[in-house]
C-alpha cells in the first residue's frame, strides 16, 4: 500500500450531504475484475452529460478549471454512504484524491479508504464550513495535510487538528500491508481455532453424557 505522510495540494469542494457510493462510482462500472482504471468513471452521472463519458457537464464542480489536479476533496456529512463497493475509494484515488475532509463518513467507506492509502479526515461541521468558504472564495486555494502531527493547514494560515485511530494511522503512515500484519499473529489465530475446537468437543462429550 502507498504510504501517506504529508499531502500538499488543491482542494475541490462537493457541497452535498449523503453522497452515496452509487454516485461516486455508478454500478455500470463495477463489472471489471481489475482494481484500476475507475478514475475516469468517478461521479460519472454528475460529471458527464452522455453515457459514454465524452461530454463533460460544465455545471459539475469537478469540471471547473480551477479544480483540475485537485488531490483533496472537501465534502459534507455521511460521505460514502450506501453500498460497500471498494470501487468508490478506488475511483477517488485513481482520479487523484488522496484525502477527503468531511464532518462524517459511512463506516464501510471510511474503512475502505485506509486500505487504499487514502486519509479520510473528520472535522467538526463548523470547521468544514470554514474550509468550504476558504476554498470557494480563494483562487488556487491550497491545503496541507500532515498525518504524523494530525493537522490540516489552510493557505490562509489557519490550522485544524484531527483525530485518527492509532493503528490505522500507523498502517497508513508506513504503507503497511494489513494482511501481512495480521499474519504476524498467525500463532494467535491458530491457537484460537484449536481452543474453539477443543471447547466444542468438550461440549459434545457433555451432551452425549446426558
Amino acid at each position: 500500500m502507498k504510504a501517506f505522510t504529508t499531502l500538499n495540494g488543491v482542494a475541490a469542494i462537493l457541497d452535498k450531504a449523503n453522497v452515496d457510493t452509487d454516485q461516486i462510482i455508478p454500478k455500470q462500472f463495477l463489472r471489471k475484475i481489475e482494481r484500476s482504471g475507475f478514475g475516469v468513471h468517478l461521479f460519472h452521472d454528475w460529471r458527464f452529460l452522455d453515457d459514454a463519458g465524452t461530454k463533460p457537464n460544465p455545471e459539475f464542480i469537478l469540471n471547473q478549471p480551477r479544480y483540475q489536479g485537485a488531490n483533496i476533496l472537501l465534502a459534507r456529512d455521511n460521505f460514502g454512504c450506501g453500498s460497500s463497493r471498494e470501487h468508490a475509494p478506488w475511483a477517488l484515488e485513481d482520479y487523484g484524491f488522496r484525502s477527503i475532509i468531511a464532518p462524517s463518513y459511512a463506516d464501510i467507506f471510511y474503512n475502505n479508504c485506509f486500505k487504499n492509502g487514502m486519509l479520510p479526515i473528520v472535522l467538526p461541521s463548523e470547521q468544514v464550513d470554514e474550509l468550504f468558504k476558504y476554498v470557494d472564495s480563494t483562487p488556487n486555494a491550497k491545503l496541507e495535510i500532515d498525518l504524523m502531527s494530525q493537522v490540516v493547514k489552510a493557505g490562509n494560515g489557519k490550522s485544524y487538528s484531527f483525530d485518527v485511530d492509532s493503528f490505522r494511522k500507523d498502517c497508513l503512515y508506513r504503507g503497511l500491508d494489513d494482511i501481512g500484519l495480521t499474519l504476524e499473529n498467525e500463532k494467535s489465530i491458530t491457537s484460537f481455532e484449536k481452543q474453539r475446537r477443543s471447547k466444542f468437543r468438550k461440549c459434545l462429550k457433555e451432551n452425549k453424557g446426558k
Partner: protein, 460 residues
C-alpha cells in the same frame, strides 16, 4: 449480547484495534475478483475454504440462466467467480444450481446463518443475517481478501444502540414499514459507528423473514450491523435446514439461547418507537431517510432550518420530479419491482400475491416479480403464486438482485417512476434518471394495480 459475540471471537487486541475471528464468509461475483487476484499476486492461500460460500446474484440476468445472456463483461465476472471457487475449493451456487439466489436470501435458507456467528460479505446488506442474532456486516474487497487469507478481520469496537419498537403493528403494516420509519426518525447516518439491537414486542413477534427485512436495512441507517436476539422463532427456522446442525441440535440451541442481552444491560444510545404509530411508509426522495407515511404529503424544503438539509430536499424534489405539498397518493407510477434481499422471500411474495389476486396491473405500469432464490421460486410455484402474478399481468422472473441495483438487464429508463420493494432510492440506483419509491410488498403490489400509491389499509 453484542459483547458476548465480540468476546467469543476476539483473537487478540492491540491499542483499540482487535483481530476478530470470522465464522462465515459469503462472496459474490462483483466484489470478490480483485481479492482473489491479489491473493494470487502475493502467493497467499485461502485459509479455510469450507467457511466461505459463494453465489452469483448481482449481475445475473433474471430472464435467462445463461451466463452469456448477460453482457459480456458481466459474463467474465461470473466465469471468474467459477474459476476462483474451483481453484480454491469454495462451494459455489452458480446459475446451474437450483438453489442459486441472492446471497442474503440463500444463506439463511440453506441453514448457513446461525446465532452467535460472525458473518461477513463484500456487500453492505450482510446486516440481514443479524436477524438470527449473528454479528453480520458488509466489508470492502480488501477485507474480503483479508478474510480469505486469515479468516479474521481487524476491527474497531463499535458502540451499541437499542432500537425498541413497543406494542403491536396495525393491520397491513409490514416489517419494511418498521425499518423505513426507523430510518426516517434517526436519519441515514443516525446509527453510524453503532451496532443496533432491535428489541420490543413488535420486533419479537416478527417471523424470521420479517426480522431479516428489518436487519437488512440497518445499513441504511448507517449502522455497522443490526441484530435481534435469537429465540424459539429463530431455532424453529434453522431446524432441519441443509447446513443446520443435525444430531446435536439441542446442544446448539442451548448455546444459541445464551446470546441474549442481559436484563439491565446498558446501551450507548436507545431509541423508542411505538408500533401503532407506524403507517405504511413511502420514500419520496433520493435517500431512504426521505420517507413519510402514505397519508402524508411531500415535504417543503422551506420547513428545514439547516441549509444542507434544505438543499438536500430541493435536490431530491428536482430529481424526483415532485412538488412540495403533493399528496403521496397522487404520485403515479409506470414501473413496479417486487424483489431484492429486502423483500423477495416467500412471505413477501404471498402478501403481494394476495394483494393482486384476481386483479389486473394498470395498463400504464410494467411490473416484475423476482423471487430471491431458486427455493423461493419453487415454493411460490408450488403454491400457485406465479400464476396469480402472471394472470394479473406481472412478469415472473428467475432469482437475482435484478432492479435493486440494475447491474443487469433490469434497468429503469430516464424518467421512469418505480414503486420498489428494494432498499435504496439513490439517484440513478435503478437506472440513470430513474425515480425510485421504496415501499413494502403489499404497497408495491397495490400500486401496480392502481398505477399510483394507495393506502393499503383502506384499499380493496
Amino acid at each position: 449480547m453484542f459483547e458476548k459475540i465480540w468476546n467469543d471471537h476476539l483473537v487478540t487486541e492491540n491499542s483499540g484495534s482487535s483481530i476478530i475471528y470470522i465464522d462465515r464468509h459469503l462472496i459474490h461475483e462483483v466484489t470478490s475478483p480483485q481479492a482473489f487476484e491479489s491473493l494470487r499476486l502475493t502467493n497467499r492461500k485461502v485459509r479455510r475454504p469450507e467457511a466461505t460460500f459463494a453465489t452469483m446474484d448481482h449481475n445475473v440476468s433474471t430472464r435467462s440462466r445463461d451466463m452469456d445472456f448477460a453482457d459480456p463483461i458481466s459474463a467474465i465476472q461470473m466465469k471468474t467467480l467459477i474459476k476462483n471457487c474451483k481453484e480454491n475449493k469454495i462451494t459455489l451456487y452458480d446459475l446451474t444450481n437450483p438453489d442459486q439466489g441472492i446471497i442474503h436470501v440463500i444463506a439463511p435458507e440453506l441453514g448457513l446463518t446461525h446465532p452467535g456467528m460472525t458473518i461477513v460479505c463484500g456487500d453492505s446488506h450482510t446486516s440481514t443475517h443479524g436477524a438470527f442474532g449473528a454479528l453480520a456486516f458488509g466489508i470492502g474487497t480488501s477485507e474480503v481478501e483479508h478474510v480469505l487469507a486469515t479468516q479474521t478481520l481487524v476491527q474497531q469496537k463499535p458502540k451499541t444502540m437499542e432500537i425498541r419498537v413497543e406494542g403491536k403493528l396495525l393491520p397491513h403494516v409490514t416489517p419494511k414499514d418498521i425499518v423505513l420509519a426507523i430510518i426516517g426518525k434517526i436519519g441515514t447516518d443516525g446509527a453510524t459507528g453503532f451496532v443496533i439491537e432491535f428489541t420490543g414486542e413488535a420486533i419479537r413477534s416478527l417471523s424470521m423473514e420479517g426480522r431479516m427485512t428489518v436487519c437488512n436495512m440497518s445499513i441504511e441507517a448507517g449502522a455497522r450491523a443490526g441484530f435481534i436476539a435469537p429465540d424459539e422463532t429463530t431455532f424453529n427456522y434453522i431446524k432441519g435446514k441443509d447446513h443446520a446442525p443435525k444430531e446435536n441440535f439441542d446442544m446448539f440451541v442451548k448455546k444459541w439461547a445464551s446470546y441474549v442481552t442481559d436484563p439491565g444491560a446498558t446501551f450507548d444510545k436507545t431509541i423508542v418507537l411505538k408500533a401503532e404509530d407506524i403507517p405504511p411508509m413511502v420514500t419520496w426522495g433520493t435517500s431512504p431517510g426521505q420517507v413519510v407515511g402514505v397519508i402524508d404529503v411531500v415535504p417543503n424544503p422551506n420547513s428545514a432550518t439547516d441549509p444542507t438539509v434544505k438543499k438536500s430536499i430541493e435536490g431530491a424534489l428536482a430529481y424526483m420530479g415532485l412538488q412540495a405539498g403533493q399528496k403521496i397518493t397522487d404520485i403515479t407510477l409506470n414501473k413496479v419491482f417486487i424483489g431484492s434481499c429486502t423483500n423477495s422471500r416467500i412471505e413477501d411474495l404471498r402478501i403481494a400475491a394476495s394483494t393482486v389476486k384476481g386483479k389486473k396491473v394498470s395498463s400504464k405500469v410494467t411490473a416484475i416479480v423476482v423471487p430471491g432464490s431458486g427455493r423461493v421460486k419453487r415454493q411460490a410455484e408450488a403454491e400457485g403464486l406465479d400464476k396469480i402474478f402472471v394472470e394479473a399481468g406481472f412478469e415472473w422472473r428467475n432469482p437475482g438482485c435484478s432492479m435493486c441495483l440494475a447491474m443487469n438487464d433490469d434497468v429503469l429508463s430516464p424518467g421512469d417512476r418505480c414503486a420498489s420493494t428494494s432498499n435504496r432510492n439513490f439517484e440513478g440506483r435503478q437506472g440513470k434518471g430513474g425515480r425510485t419509491h421504496l415501499v413494502g410488498p403489499a404497497m408495491a403490489a397495490a400500486a401496480a394495480i392502481e398505477g399510483k400509491f394507495v393506502d393499503i389499509r383502506y384499499w380493496s
